[in-house]
Structure formats: structure tokens, C-alpha cells
Symmetry: C3
Subunit: 365 residues, 3 copies
Amino acid sequence: MADALTVGQLAAAIEARSSGVLVVEVRGTPDRPIDRVAPLESAGPGALGFLSNPRYRRAALASDASAIVLAAADADAMAEGGAQATLLVCTNPYAAFAFAAQALAPETAPPPGVADGARVAPTARIDATARIDAGAIVESDAVIAAGAHIGAGAYVGHGVHIGERTRLHPGARVMADCRVGARCILHSGSVIGADGFGFAPFEGRWVKIPQTGRATIGDDVEIGANTTIDRGTMGDTVVEEGSKLDNQIQIGHNCRIGAHTVIAGCVGIAGSTTIGKGCQLGGAAMILGHLQIADGCVISSGTLVSRSINERGFYTGFFPFMKNRDWERNAAVLRQLDELRKRVRELETRLKERPEPPGAARDDS
Amino acid sequence: MADALTVGQLAAAIEARSSGVLVVEVRGTPDRPIDRVAPLESAGPGALGFLSNPRYRRAALASDASAIVLAAADADAMAEGGAQATLLVCTNPYAAFAFAAQALAPETAPPPGVADGARVAPTARIDATARIDAGAIVESDAVIAAGAHIGAGAYVGHGVHIGERTRLHPGARVMADCRVGARCILHSGSVIGADGFGFAPFEGRWVKIPQTGRATIGDDVEIGANTTIDRGTMGDTVVEEGSKLDNQIQIGHNCRIGAHTVIAGCVGIAGSTTIGKGCQLGGAAMILGHLQIADGCVISSGTLVSRSINERGFYTGFFPFMKNRDWERNAAVLRQLDELRKRVRELETRLKERPEPPGAARDDS
Amino acid sequence: MADALTVGQLAAAIEARSSGVLVVEVRGTPDRPIDRVAPLESAGPGALGFLSNPRYRRAALASDASAIVLAAADADAMAEGGAQATLLVCTNPYAAFAFAAQALAPETAPPPGVADGARVAPTARIDATARIDAGAIVESDAVIAAGAHIGAGAYVGHGVHIGERTRLHPGARVMADCRVGARCILHSGSVIGADGFGFAPFEGRWVKIPQTGRATIGDDVEIGANTTIDRGTMGDTVVEEGSKLDNQIQIGHNCRIGAHTVIAGCVGIAGSTTIGKGCQLGGAAMILGHLQIADGCVISSGTLVSRSINERGFYTGFFPFMKNRDWERNAAVLRQLDELRKRVRELETRLKERPEPPGAARDDS
């Protein structure tokens, strides 16, 4: 935990991090000390809470948080309700809360330098402000920029470029010739630039197509634990700036992930697919190869996308769960859906052949 | 392979490990030596086989196993059939077999101490009976309890607590401040306590919410290879005692996995979801975030759970597979299921408008 | 990038690698230098392009590639069109392109020997032509055959056998007693031989069944980043020769994967399942346990296979995606599909009870 900040100092920190667009006002005592964020229910003195939804006003009123980030309308209601907490009124309380949490949990930069037990090739260039932890390996001709931090047991291959203030957590690995931008976070076990999956069939076996492209990661990208991003076959696999990838994701060769796209855990994206900018992919979604997904698309969890999507929108395709015995009955019908449609068509035909009863004129909608 | 035990010694070992509730009797020669377990079909002299199902009595009779673990009813039938093997009659043959297999394959504890090439911070506390292998890294203020074994290249972060007799296999990683209970097994490449996936949207980009909680793992938990369990946002992500997690699983931040729950491979559980005690989740199941799953639920493989489940039960939701051409036909109808229902409703309406033929009174069920 | 080869030299290299069955002829100048492969659109002088489909003849004609691999029919059309590139005519252009790409990107073998900072047990046997990189660990009684390359931070357990010219990329891990054949490639973070997932229920908890079998990997197998292949319970988990596994795959204990089968990313195969030879499994497919899948089966991405497949064929089972509002409507009907069928049956019964209109004899198809 960090040293405490007053609510007023926190408001200033939010303003600084958001370029001055978030804080509306501080209602109540601005000099209360805050040393952490906490859920409203478990917040005590010293904690900053967060009211995201008018539904939780009661919980906010009952909370022992010293201060609460919230929207103006909620602040008015809280003030009427006799709120004890200092109210930090913001236009976008969730983003303000995120900035406040950052101010309260600043990254503690380790001392710069190469730790005992790290192995750095003589031709690698390590900025004097960068940090290489024990057990890390940096290969020949790699470049580690200012303020970067290569964690214990992490691997930086030949010719790799790691941008300023980027952090590789323990055991993250970047293969030869790949590039990672500035301020990225690569979590443990992530692998950037393993070979893509490319084989040509030949006489009953599979001939490997060398994967000579790279993986390039833009600035401000976060890559989750054990996520894998393959290098391109000839060109590059690209993750654009500001994208956030959760754990256990697979990105195939030659993919391009648009800027500021978020991808939840366990997603797979097959090779040569382009995901637009600002998309949101739910957990365990699967996107087939050679597709184009338009900017701003939202894909539900568990959805398999088998065709390109040209239009921004919200797309879904998973089997709704139910009690197993219901599923068994419904799944049995599902296997004969085409036949069921034929039976309905047949009924329609038969009924059409019968004379309508008199006076039965009706609309078909 | 271990030294051989006689069938009688094995029976005693099963009794000791199960607190005396499993063994009914030993029928036949108790002093045959057993040095391994084996499937009935390939078992030879010295092997202990296992009869799980009356269906396999013939295979058991034909087996060359020196002894067979089985239930009383099967033992009677086997004896009538002229079984050559010594019969180890147990109330729960499968559990008895597991205990026997344990007795035959005891963990060989490595010599205690810190191997050459391991790196242990001066402030870490390593019990004198613990073992740290080459290439492992133990950071400052970490605690490694008695009999624990930190494998080659494994990582124990700052302030982490590893419980008694817990084993980290090569390359398992526990991030700062997390806790792992006693007698746990963390397989290679598992990552405990990477950052949860939390971002607030702000002006077209995503602002990271620091993940300052921990991941805490109860006693007797097993965590599979390359499985990831994220740390909490503010509070903890919790895996309760006795749970068993297979490989390639993702557990999001703030989740709680109930005691003695088993989770098969490739499952994803999104953030802030609680799974009850004694649940069984099939492979590649996906549980969305902020849900509650009741104790004792069984979820089929491949099922996406999109709502809380309040009632113990067996739940399923996957698309049944079929020949591709059948799938194409059925999937086409599935896309128009709502329309099909309308057509059926329409037919019902039309038919209702027709006079019933005389004498056609029927029941509607 | 490698040194340049002429088109003629490339043709000879393709012949050598394919045992002389692929190259038909070289049309045009055979002595143009080629130093890389490239997509037709971005290829420039010195690049070898690849025409896979008559549809792209126009792009091939417009390409600045110095040479193009293609089929005879395409070559005739290209020649008529006034192609500038040298035409490398092959019977199987895709395979020929793969061999050409291999010839242009030869593996550069690192100098043999054990690097500083690698740890090799005294009883391990390392061939004099093998290479062990810094941070790698080779345990007692392991065998590393000729030309093998154990990458940085990779792990080779006790008694493991690594075949000739096999490469473990940084952080790949092979657990005790497992075997990996010749010319295999194990990518970063892959784990071969972690414990299978086997537990017997006993009084509300789970008793571990020791996993004493091995994982054995045949020759010419490629295993993707962060893929996991568990060891067998008593016998072995087997991946036969020539199989290619992508990233993030899970293979459960006691499975057998047939020769020359390809498995795309994120697939899960539960325990004791046998996949035939020459199968193709699409990404995120899930195969349940104790099944048999016939040789030559093709399984679509996202398909859950819940029963054995005895007949070679193309099988599919995923929910087609759609706009979310359409999905909600269709999924609601899907939950009542069995009821819908009953309603159709009811309509059929009622209609049968009505007298047919005169002259309405029809066929039922």
C-alpha cells in the first residue's frame, strides 16, 4: 500500500491523469486521508469507495468509506441522505476511480541495473534506467528501452525491441526480432512470437512453412498470463496500441488486432484475421481465420464467428444452458430441425388446400 | 517404481490412508508381492488390477494380475469363476485403488536445502526441511514451509506464503503476496496471482484498475499445467481447500471456487463469480462473470453458463455435433427458429378457426 | 534472411526435399536471385511469390515478384498474359512453396555445447553436437541426442529422452521419464508430461491417483506454445509421428493422437480418447474422454464431440452466430424446441382427422 493522500490530493491526481476532464467538485472535507480503494460494503476509514449505480445508494450511505467517487446525481441524493463520506463528484466515476486507484497504488520501480543471475548478451543494449531481474535472459542485439523492467526468468530474444517503461512479468517471453511498444505489460507465461501454425500437405504428411515474419505489439498494450501471439508467416502479426488482452488467449499468425480492442480470457483468433478498433470480445469467443471484423463490434462470450462482420454491432451465438434432461430433449429435436421445418411447410400446404371457413379473412403478420 | 508390498501390506496401507473404512477382507493369498498398478488387460504378475464394473468380470478372470481390488458382489462372482488373483475386497474399490496406487508410488522427497543455481532473497524464510531446486527464484519476505518443494525454474514472489509439503513443479509461478496452503500441487507453467482484467473506458481508451488484492489457495488443492488464477482487484480471489483444477483453466479476479470442487481442462471462469462447494465442471465449460453457482452443481463440458444457478443439479448447453451437411441444414433453420414458431402459431390459429369434424373430441396433452 | 539462391537452385532444393516429385519445369530466366518468400501483392525483386488459385492470376501478373511458384494451368495463362516473373511450375505448388521457403530460411544451428548458465546433471548424456542454452536445466539420466537444441530456460526432467535434431524453444518443459522423438519442435511454454487429472471420490473429497505413466512424442511432431500433454495414469499418452499441434491445446492422460493429425489452437481432448491418423481438428474443438475418432476425420472449429466417430467424415456442431437480438429470440425458442415439436405433431394429428378435400391426392416428400 502507498502512503495516504488526502481526498483533495486524489482529486488533483485524477485531474492530472485525465487531463482535467473528470472532476466536478469535492463535497465535504477535502483533507481526509485515503490510503486505499475498497468495495463500499467492506470499506472503512481511510478507504475510497465507488458508487457505480443509483441502485447502490443505500450501500453508499451505509458505508464507512472516508470518501466516495460518484456522479453528480448520486451525490445530490447522497447529500440529502446525510452522507458522512466526502463526495468526489466526477463526470465518469468509473474512470475517475481507476485513476484514483492508480494514484494510490503507484508502481514501485525496482532499482535499475542488471541483477546478479540475469544473463545479458554483450551486444544487447540495456538502457541505464532499465531493470533486468535474476534469471532473465536477454539475447544478442536486443534493445531494452528506458525504464523497462524484465522480470525474473523472462526471455527477450535476439534483436527484440522492448519499449520504454514496458514490463515483462516473470516468465514472459518474446521471441527473436519481435517488437513490443512502450508502457506495455506482459504477464507471466505469455509468449510473443512463437511460430505460426502453417503446414502444406504433401504425400500424407505436413511440410512446415517457415514463419519468418514478426509479432509487433503497439504502445500501452496489456497481455495476460499464458496468452500466446504467434509471429507472422511472411509479414507481421500486429496488436495495435491500447489493446488489452486477458489470459489464455491465442492469436494466430498474420492477425491484426485493432487499437483499443479488449479481448477477454480464453479467446482464440485463427490466422490472418483482422479485428477492428475498439472491439470487445467476450471470453472463450472463437474467431475463424481470414475474416474481417468491423470496428466497434461486440462479440458475446462463447460465440464462434465463422464469417466476416462488416457492420458494427452486437453479435452472439452460444447454446443456452438448461437442465440436462431438457437439453437432451431439445438437442434431439435440434438434430432434426430441418425435418421439422419440412413438416411445418407440409402442414401449411395442406391447410392452404382446404377451403377457408366463411368470414375468416385475417392478416398474416 | 517403488519396492514391492504384499497384498496384506497394501490392505493395511489402504486402511491407514482411509482411516479404516475401506477394506472388507482379503480373499486368497495375502503375501503375494505387488509392485505396481496396471489395467486388467495388461496386468501381469506383481500388478494390482482394479475391477470397477461387473461388466468387466470376464476381463478380471482372464487377467494375470496378482491381486484385484473390487467390491464384495464382484468378489463373490470372481471366486465362483475360479479367480486366480488375490481379491482385495473394498467398500469403495475406486478410492481403495487410488490409495493403493499412492502406497505403491510414494513421492520421493528430494534432499532438503537450496540447490546450487537457485536464487533465494536474504529476507525469505526457507524451512530447513524444504527444497529449492536449481533455477528457482524466491523473492524477499517469502515463506517456504516445512517439506515444501520449489521445482526448477519456479517463481515465488515477494511476501508469498507456500504451505507445508506443497510442491511447485518446474516453472510454476506465484506472484507477490499470494498464499498457497499445505499439500498443494502446482503444475508446470501455472500462474497464481497475475493481474485481473480490469479497465475503465475513458475517451476511447482503457484505463487500468490496479489489481491490489491477492490470490489465496487452500490446503490440498491441485492446479494443472498452464492454468492461471488471477489476483483480486481489491479483495482476494479464493480457491478453497481440496479443489482440483486441471490444465489450461482460467479463473478471473475476485472469483471464489468452493471446497472440493473439480474443474476439468480448458474451463474459463470470468471475474467475480462464485462456484459452490463440491461442484463438477466439465472441460471447456465457460462461466460468465458475477454469477453464483450453487453447491453440488454438475456442468457438462462445453456449456456456457450465462446466469446464476441457485439449485443443485445437472446442467448442459452445447450444440450436438453431426455430419457437416446435416449441421448446415439444421443451422439454417436455427437462424429462423423464431419465425418457425410463428408459423406454427399461425397454423394453430387457422386450424382453430375451422369447425372440428364431428366426433373428434380429443385430449390436448 | 539467408543468402540468395537462384530460381534454378531453388528448383533443385525443392526437388531434393520432395524426392523429385514436385518440379515440372522452370519457365523463364532460371538465374534470377531469390532471397525471400513474400505475398504476391507486396513481393518485390528478389522475392518468390506463390499462386494458389486461378482467381489470383491477375494479382500474379501485376506482382513484382522475381519468380512465382504455380501449377501448370496457371503457368500457361500467365505466360499468355505476358508474365515478367520466372515461373516455377510444380505439381503441388503449396508444398513446393513450403520447401522453397525452407530452403530460403535454413535453421541456423547454434554452436554445440553447454552454455554458461545452463545446468546439466552429471549423469545426463549430452551428445557432443547438441546445444544447451543458458538457463536451461537437464536433470539426471536425461539423454539429449545429436543436434538437439535445448533453449533458454527450457527443462528436461530426469530420464527424459530428447531425439536427434529436436528443438525445445525457451521455456518448453518435458517432465521426468517422457520421450520426445527426432526432429520435433516444442514451442515456448509447452509442457509435456504433467500429471493427468485423476481423482477418486471418497467421503466428500478427492483422492489423487498417482500418474505413473509417461508421455511419448513421435518423430517430426510440432507442439505449439503453452500446449500441455499430460502423462498417462499407468500406460502412456502418445502423440504419433508427424502430428502437428498448435498453441494452447490440452491433451489429457492416456490419449493417443494418430500420426500426421493436425490440431488447431485451443483444442481440448479429454482423457483416454484416441484420435485417428490423418485427422484435422479445428480450433477450440473439444473431444470428450474415452472416445475413438476414426482415421481421416475432419472436425469443425468449436465443435464438441460427445460420442465416438467410427466413420471418416466431416463433422460440425457449433451455434451459428447472429445479431444478438436475433439470437435472443431464437435461443428462447430453442429452449422449447421439444414443445414446438409436440405442437407440430398435434397439428398433424388434427389435420389427419379432417377429411381431405376432394382431388387433393399428394406426395409427402
